[in-house]
Each structure stands twice: as C-alpha cells, then as structure tokens.
C-alpha cells in the first residue's frame, strides 16, 4: 500500500509541476536557512570536553575595587585572577588536579641558520594542564610536577610548531630557543583544537590554542609579557615587573578538577577560608564572592555564542515559519483542486483513513525533497558564512552527520505538520457533492 501511495504522490506532484516545485523550494529554503544558523549555533555552543566538562571548574574570587563592582550588571566576580592568587591557590593543592595559566608570547629562534626567527604564542601553565584537559600527544608527554616548581626550562610544542621547526619528526629531548633561553622539548601535541577554546576565552572563544606550553613560574623568571587581557582596578605599587606581579591586576586563569559534589563543596569552603585570610591581611575589600563554574556554565557566563548568531537563528526559524505557511496554503489549494478525484475515490470505497495516509505521504514526499534541497542550500549557506566571516569560522561552519539527520527530521516533521490541515480538509469532502458535478 505504501508503495502505491508513493506512486500516487509522485503522480500528483507531476500533475502540478510548478506548484510542487514551489512547495519544495519553499521548504528547501526554510530548512536551508535554519540548518545554516543551527549549525553555527550548535558548534558555537558545543561542549569542548564532553567527557569531563562537569568535573572541570573555573576558579573566581573577588579582589576588586571596594567602590566599584567588577561587573555592575550582575555583581559577578572578576573573570581572571591575580598572580598572587594563582600562586597561592596552586600552592595550597586543595583539588585533585589544578592548573593556573596565562597567555604570553616570545620569539623562537630555530637552530637552522636559514630559518628566520618568529614570534610564537605561549601558554604558561602547570603540569596538570595536560592530563586534566586530555590533550592528545603525538610524541612524549607533558612535564612532571617537579618541573613546575623547579622552574625547569621544558616545553611542549603544538603539532604545527613541531612541523615548522623540526620538520615533523620526534623532537623529544631536543633543544629549542625561546625568548633567548634554551628549552628542552618534552612533548609534542597532536592536533588539538577545543571548540570553543574553553580554558581561556579572553582573545576570542574560537581562537587557536597557543603554539607552545611552558611551566607557569617561568613568567617571573623570564619576565614574560602579559598577553590576553590585563585588568587593574588600581595601579601596581612601585615600578617594574615584580610590582606588576604583586599588584591587584588580573591576567591569570585557573581550572580545578573536582570529581564529586563533596569535593566541590570542600573546595568552595577552602576558597572562603582563603579569602578570609586575605581579608585579615588587608586585601579583598569587597564582600565574599567566590564562584566555581563548570565548563558549560562558564561558556554560558562568558557568552561565547555570538549574539549575531543567535539573532540569525531566530530569524531563520521565522523564515521557516513563513515557508511552512506558504506550503500549507499551497497544499490546501492543491488538495482542494483534487476534490473531484477524492470524491470519486471515496465513492468507490476508499476510507477516510486511507485517503489521510495517502495525502500525508504526499506531503512527506514534498518534505523529504525539500529537506534534500535544504541540505544543499545549507552547505552553500555555510560556505557563504566562511566567505563572509573569514578563516576564524572554519571550525564553526561544517555539517556533520547529526546535523544532516536533524535537517531531514526537521524537513519531514515540518512538512507533515504543514500537511495535516490540508489533508484533514481533503478527507472530509463529501463524495456526493463532487460526483454531482461530474
């Protein structure tokens, strides 16, 4: 029966080719627009580390100005930490895993005389960074925790830098000159591009990870510059690099891994005690305002999904609505036009139910065809987004299997919904009224 209905559906579509094409195009355009914007939003709001995003927490404490909140709107604590907090909280070792971090940069001088020196971005961090964020290694591994405090000049390279400086070979044990110091390579990462770049969203949530990774405390040793975002509510007391590190300026991030609610509660308790200790020392003039947000909560708080992307998604849903209304109207017209045929079929014995199924199948066929057109249009739309927004959206504009399934489902569901009312109307045609005019 299904096959017969399919045949009838295609016959009926061919009978009004322009009308059918119009409906398929309308659904295609609606689905195409929606899929383009849903894909961008879906990738922007993706969970960058699904296996443990519930266990990783971003640490915030409020060392800000007594006269002005860091954020007037919602009184949230500052979005980064001072050097002092980064060091104190790390030294306390109150979480199973923890890593303070910062962004910096320096000049790499390749050993090869022909290769020119170049500037590379640096992530300063602790040894727990690599196991905590499950970074994939091509060669070697991260450094061990002794290197953190011994301030050893060890370095982990991104795949791209290893390709550039060492031609892609296993460089573990070799030496690299960074910021005029000799570093020993301990590991090379495989391709690693968390989307969004959740561990530090300061310079764009969809930036590339840094090119090299070195122990955090080398910041002080090598007086490495502060990249990313630096924010101060009062200027450093005294001059020089040391004064900056000891100031109330925030430029550092810290993540902790807490596996159970109990551990999280304990850590919050620890933070309260810590802040009280600091208050006793005359710091932290504001009310207690500590926060531990997990990965997705932090992404939400930092509004990593672009407002324009959300706007476009809303508009595209309205666009689909117009396309569906269009389809309902056209289907209605079409099925009404078939009244005589329906009346005849009813008269020769087809039940209302059978006619209903037949016409819903016809609507679904239009939906499936529209969905396929929509997928093609979505692929084009995403290409258009790449052209318009440039390289940085490359990771945000590709269709995956989930999205293709969503597109087909959306097309099918919306076309069947659009078909319901016209079909119901068609099935309620009284056979006699139509046969009379024949």
């Amino acid at each position: 029966m299904f096959n017969y209905y399919l045949k009838l559906a295609f016959k009926s579509m061919r009978r009004n080719p322009i009308l059918s094409a119009l409906m398929i195009t309308a659904i295609g355009l609606g689905i195409g627009a929606c899929m383009t914007t849903i894909t961008v939003n879906y990738l922007m709001s993706a969970d960058p580390i699904p296996e443990k995003s519930q266990q990783l927490f971003y640490v915030q404490v409020d060392n800000w100005d007594p006269n002005n909140a860091f954020n007037d709107d919602d009184n949230s604590p500052p979005n980064q930490l001072t050097w002092t907090e980064a060091n104190n909280l790390m030294a306390a070792k109150q979480a199973p895993r923890q890593a303070a971090m910062a962004k910096s940069g320096g000049i790499i001088e390749p050993g090869n005389q022909d290769a020119l020196p170049f500037e590379a971005s640096i992530r300063l961090t602790f040894s727990d960074f690599f196991p905590m964020f499950n970074t994939p290694f091509l060669f070697g591994s991260g450094w061990d925790d002794k290197a953190d405090y011994a301030r050893e000049q060890v370095i982990v390279l991104s795949k791209a830098i290893n390709d550039k400086v060492f031609g892609g070979e296993n460089s573990v044990g070799k030496t690299l000159v960074l910021s005029a110091r000799h570093f020993r390579v301990v590991g090379v990462l495989d391709n690693w591009q968390p989307v969004p770049k959740f561990y530090d969203v300061n310079n764009g949530a969809f930036d590339e990870p840094e090119e090299v990774f070195i122990p955090f405390l080398l910041k002080e040793e090598l007086e490495l510059p502060s990249w990313g975002n630096t924010n101060c509510w009062k200027s450093p007391e005294g001059e020089g690099f040391k004064a900056f590190l000891q100031s109330e300026c925030i430029n550092f991030q810290m993540w902790v891994e807490l596996d159970t609610p109990q551990q999280k509660a304990d850590y919050l308790g620890f933070l309260s005690n810590y802040v009280n200790d600091q208050k006793a020392l005359g710091r932290f003039p504001r009310p207690m305002n500590n926060r531990l947000l997990n990965v997705m909560e932090w992404m939400d708080d930092q509004e990593v999904v672009d407002q324009d992307a959300r706007l476009m998604m809303w508009l595209s849903f309205m666009f689909l609505l117009v396309c569906l209304l269009n389809t309902i109207g056209l289907l209605l017209a079409k099925f009404t036009g078939k009244a005589a045929e329906i009346g005849l079929r009813r008269a020769v014995g087809a039940s209302k139910g059978e006619l209903f199924v037949q016409h819903i199948i016809e609507a679904a066929c239009i939906g499936v065809l529209g969905g396929m057109a929509g997928l093609v249009l979505a692929a084009l739309g995403l290409q258009g987004i790449k052209v318009l927004y440039g390289d940085f959206v490359d990771d945000l504009a590709s269709l995956d299997l989930t999205m293709i399934a969503v597109a087909m489902l959306l097309a099918l569901v919306s076309s069947i919904l659009a078909g319901l009312y016209p079909t119901w109307r068609a099935c309620n045609i009284a056979p006699a009224s139509q046969l009379k005019s024949q």
Partner: protein
Amino acid sequence: MSNNAQIPRSTNWEIGPILRALLRNKVGALLIAIQIAVTMTIIVNSVSIIVERYHQVQRDSGIDEDNTFYLSSLGFGESFNAKVTIEEDLAQLRKLPGVVDAIQINAIPISGGGWSMGLKTQAGAEFDAVGVAVYMVDDHGINALDLEVIAGENFSHSDITWREASQSSWPNKIIITKAMAEALFPEQAWASPVGKTVFINDVEPMVISGIIDKLQAPWPNWDRLENAMLSPERQNYDSSRYLIRTEPGRRDELMPIVEKFLADSNKQRIIKGMRSLTETRERSYRGNHALIKILSTVMIILTIVTGLGIVGLASFNVNQRKKQIGTRRALGASQGAIVRYFMLENFLISSGGVLLGAGLTIGLNIVLVEVLSLQSMDWFYIPIGMAVLWLVGLIAVYGPAKKAASIPPALATQTV
C-alpha cells in the same frame, strides 16, 4: 449577484461580496495574512538592524585611514637596544620619500586591542572616573594621525618621556578629544578645560595641554568610542609598534619598502603584523558587513517566497472560480471589474496581514532589545514596512487577476 449590470465607472467596490467570499475560505485568507505579517516582522526588523549596523560601519575614526599602515618590530637577543632602535627607526622612516610622518604608538584605532584608563576631575579613589583610551605618541602624533588641535597646543619635543616596561606612573601633560573634554566637564564649553588638571590612577595629576577634534578608541563596540587621550611618551619596550602615514595614494607602494627597510636595518629583530588601516577596518567590521549581507539576502528571498505563495494561491483561486468568473463576464462584468475584484480581495487580506505584522514587528523588536540588547527601532519603519508589503501583495496578485480577467464569458456555458 446584485450588481451584474453595473457600468464600470460605478463607485460600487463590491466590498460586501468579497468579504462574504473570503469568509467562505477563511483559512486560505488567514494563511496569506499570517505569512504577510511574519514576513513584514522579519523584514522591518532586519532593515532596522541593517541601518543600525550601517551607521556603525560608517563612523569616522578621525585618522587618515586611506594612507596609513602599521607594523610591529620585535627585538630579541642580548644586544638589542630598544631606545636606540626606536630613535633610529623613526628618524629614518620620517626621511623616507613619500612618508608624511611616522610614530611609535601603543595601540591602533579600530583594531580592537588597546589600553584604557580612567580620568577624574577630583583626586581620590572615591570619585568616579571617566573611561578613556590611551594612545602613547610623541610630538609627531598629531601629524601622523591627521588630527587637528582645536584648542590649546600640541606636545613639544621636550615633553616626550620614555615609558619603561611595567611603569605605572604617568607624564604630567595630556591631550584629550573634544568628546572626552565634554565627558569630563559636561557643564562647560568644550574648549575651556585647556590648562585644567585631571587625575589618572586616582591621584596623579595631568594638565590638559590641548584638545583634538576627533579620535576613536581602539574598540569599535565601546559605548564611549570617542573618549581618547594622547600621552606624550615613547615606550622603551623590545616589542614596539610603528604607525606610518604616507602621501595620498602611496601607501601600497611604500608598505613593502618600509617593511624591507626595517627588517634589513637591524637583524636583532623581526618585523611582523604589517597591515593597512583599511584592512584593519575591514577585519573589525567584518561581522557587521556579513550581517548586513545576510539579512539583505534573507529579505529578498523572503519577499520572493511570500510573493510566489500569493501568486500560487491566487492562481488556484482563479482556477477554482473559473466558472463563476465566466458567468460574471457573461452577465456583463468588464475585465477591469474582474481584476479589481481580485486586487481588492488581496488588499483586504494584506490589510489584515500588515496590521497583525505591525504588532508582531513591535513585539519582536522588544524581544531583540531585551534579550540581545539591540537598539529599539524608529517608529517610521513600521508604516513603510506596511506599505511595502501591501505593494508586494498587489504586485503578486496582479498576474493571476489578469489571467482571471481573460477568461472568456463563453466558459460559463460549458461544463467543467
């Protein structure tokens, strides 16, 4: 039909019969009306967003963007001397034929990255500060950035000091924009702050030595975009940025020359990040340009879809009523009367649609303002949107109406 023998010039518009016919096909009419309403909602809000973004893109940065570019010089190695390098570089760059002026600067307008401070008119942590973007330039800053000192005077060469890495103190002179002068001293004429003292870092005094016409901060989305100050400093940093202004039309010719010249003059540094202000503007406003193009495309496609939908439904209606139309023609209705009938029918449906659309448009705009903090739209977009959608409806229905009018009266005598 009561008016079958009517003369075409008659003023009877047949509103009654049209309404009665509409009521018999409520759903069809309702579908078109809602479609018109939603289409209008999207289009009017889109136009309002496009206009808002267009104005943002059009704002003037105050500098000679067409003839300006910048690059970074990163010193490395033990023997690199930043002070000497910067002095030599600037002296040489200023001598290059085609270069109008060159300066070291800490941030680039429009680029998105910069340094902000707060200025106060009274010393003390308890007073409110006015946020300001800091540009550190020497006495050539005014010329290199193509600014105009509209009150007071430019820095002199002896005002210029060296800023060390991690230095937190400030020079004792400052030039601010007119917008900043008005923000600091709202009660006074914009030129009067010259010679007054303002405080940076809560308590450090700086005397306003001049006021410039206009200079944008580096952050295009900042709500106090024209709050900017010039600080008379060169930076003794290994990493230093130069901004170069060329004679009109010579920028592209000079960019590679300057890059090569700097790279060759000192092997203890690398030159990177060379970019024209034109490209910087394009990058910073790329999102706005993209949104404008996307929304424009959406508007056009949507209008076509809605238009075609009306054409499709109207054609079907015409086909359905072929016999009645033939009968009317046979009873003396002119072709014009038939066209008028369909146009009027559509006009009534569209009217319902655009009235509903006006409500939805305002509703969506309220949501957009609340949730995405967009600007609320100007009222006049709504009547314009209504008129446009009316017009789209009438154009779309004209074809089917013409077709209806061409149905021969003889059709009435045939059976379908």
